[in-house]
Amino acid sequence: MNQQELDKKLSEVKNKLTGIERKSDKRIYLLCEVQNSYAINKFLFEGVGCRFVIATGIDSDNCFEVLYHYSYDETGCVITIKAFIRDRKQPAIESLTPFLPAAEWIEREIHDVLGIDFKNHPNLRRLILADDWPAGVYPLRKDLPKAN
């Protein structure tokens, strides 16, 4: 697929998106709400054949964001799915690990540092936090009290 065909392919999930940001030919951001994230991820990985790079969890002002970065290596295009989790009290998102083993570690990591629950994750143990780290303290949340 060249870039135009890729754009056309991406428009197949248009109805699941809340917006598309196109910063350049090689940097595309697909915005969506949490409930559509699984389907769009599955489409990018299985339907388009993108390579999963990593996910980034962000504590935004009034929501959590989980950014799934994919690379379409044929054209060098990096496609990022930006999923917004509006529920700040019990943030949760569907896990990708059942069809994408590459996501296992990063989902565990985001669970550790931001306290986002990944539903149906087969193994949501701690990845980076120590065993004696207190429960319910999430180091990358903005409201974390600063150490003295």
Binding site: R27, F52, V53, I54, L100, P101, L127, I128
Partner: protein, 405 residues
């Protein structure tokens, strides 16, 4: 009488304090066969992403170059590319060439380091001695250009800190010629060795389908027939203007990964030579004022695969989020596909084949609950080396005494 059979677990780790990747592998074994693998990591998590939020944009490169001593050029490069994309900064041409030169020298020394370690793991200490001997002048060249053998601290937002002085280019070219001959000799010696073929072919195979599922990158992917390379797919620095090839092998075994790395080293020498010859005149950096609000990604092909950085700015002087993904983060989980079903003696080299900075295994210990024998790293290394010796004997190679190893 025991009515429950406990599975023997082989513990590799937890970590070596000098390495940047602390890993603890727990291999479930049935006799000689590995039946499951569990990985624990982050024993020495340094919170780089969190620290980055407290630093100014121009301070972060020096932080991220300390993520890994061996990849201390690729991490800051990926980061500054993200910031440059965010702020729309275009570094001068000469800076792009200097970045290319330093990053390729890094790849050369990293691949030679791996070749040496891999040789040691299978009891081929001659390879170890050769590879590390040839690696040394590369570090000297890096020191001559940047002032440091590792942690070069040479890349900054908007360009580079230190130039490659025109006066030393003839010397660099001469050193490269010498290095090329030696690397070619090493490559031929490895590729023609029937014992290495017998020892490494079909070992630790990572099939293409598994490589896609685990989203592996770098030589680990290219050894499994996936022709991806950020330098070619999303060109940065000066790679698009130079003539070089992406090396792939289809077998997915340890031998394929070794071939990919050795041939890549020769490609890297070609790249550095061209970059030195085409090095344009001019400044090596542009002035950077403010970083606007926004977000961007930067990625670069490190020796072990794609290094990926995501940076978000709110218009202040510090990133409000900075995500880093090193290549081993996706390469290491692929052990689940490549190690299960393997012989215990092959695990050492299979785990080493993705190049996860493997001296972590200094603290290897095996507990075999069938007969309560505790093996150490040394005995496992010996198992691996003994297997090479058996193959040597079968093929009729010269006999080596264990004392020589």
């Amino acid at each position: 009488m025991h009515n429950t059979v406990k599975k023997p677990v082989l513990a590799v780790g937890p970590f070596h304090p000098l390495q940047e990747e602390m890993e603890f592998f727990q291999l479930t074994i049935d006799g000689e066969k590995v039946t499951d693998i569990d990985v624990r990591l982050s024993y020495n998590h340094r919170g780089i992403e969190k620290i980055s939020e407290t630093l100014q944009f121009d301070q972060v490169p020096y932080l991220v170059s300390r993520i890994c001593g061996i990849c201390s050029a690729s991490h800051p490069l990926a980061y500054v590319q993200a910031v440059e994309e965010l702020a729309g900064i275009k570094p001068p041409d000469r800076a792009l060439y200097v970045r290319t030169i330093i990053n390729e020298l890094e790849r050369i020394h990293s691949h030679l380091l791996w070749a040496g370690l891999a040789g040691h793991f299978i009891g081929y200490d001659t390879v170890f001695m050769w590879a590390w001997k040839y690696r040394e002048p590369v570090l000297d060249l890096l020191e001559e250009i940047t002032g440091n053998r590792n942690n070069y601290g040479n890349v900054k937002v908007g360009g580079c800190r230190e130039d490659v002085p025109n006066e030393i280019i003839p010397k660099l070219l001469k050193e490269l010629d010498a290095l090329e001959k030696k690397t070619e000799m090493l490559t031929k010696a490895v590729l023609d060795d029937p014992i290495l073929h017998a020892r490494l072919k079909g070992v630790g195979v990572l099939h293409k389908e598994d490589a896609i599922k685990y989203a592996v990158t770098g030589p680990t992917a290219r050894g499994s027939g996936i022709a991806i390379d950020v330098r070619r797919d999303d060109p940065y620095a000066a790679y698009a203007e130079l003539d070089w090839n992406v090396i792939t092998q289809s077998e997915g075994d340890v031998f394929a990964k070794a071939v990919v790395r050795l041939l890549e080293t020769i490609e890297s020498i070609k790249i550095v030579r061209q970059a030195l010859k085409k090095l344009p005149d001019g400044p090596i950096s542009v002035e950077v004022k403010e970083i606007p609000p926004g977000e961007a990604i930067g990625h670069a092909e490190a020796p072990r695969g794609e290094t990926f950085h995501y940076v978000r700015s709110d218009g202040g002087n510090r990133p409000i989020r900075h995500k880093v993904r090193a290549p081993s983060y996706v390469n290491v989980p692929s052990f689940k596909a490549s190690c299960i079903g393997q012989d215990l003696a092959d695990v050492t080299i299979t785990l080493a084949a993705v190049d996860p900075c493997y001296s972590c295994t200094e603290r290897l210990a095996v507990v075999d609950s069938h007969n309560m024998i505790t093996h150490t790293y040394e005995t496992l290394l010996r198992l691996s080396q003994e297997k090479t010796q058996r193959i040597k004997k079968d093929i009729g190679g010269p006999e080596l005494k264990m004392e020589d190893l």
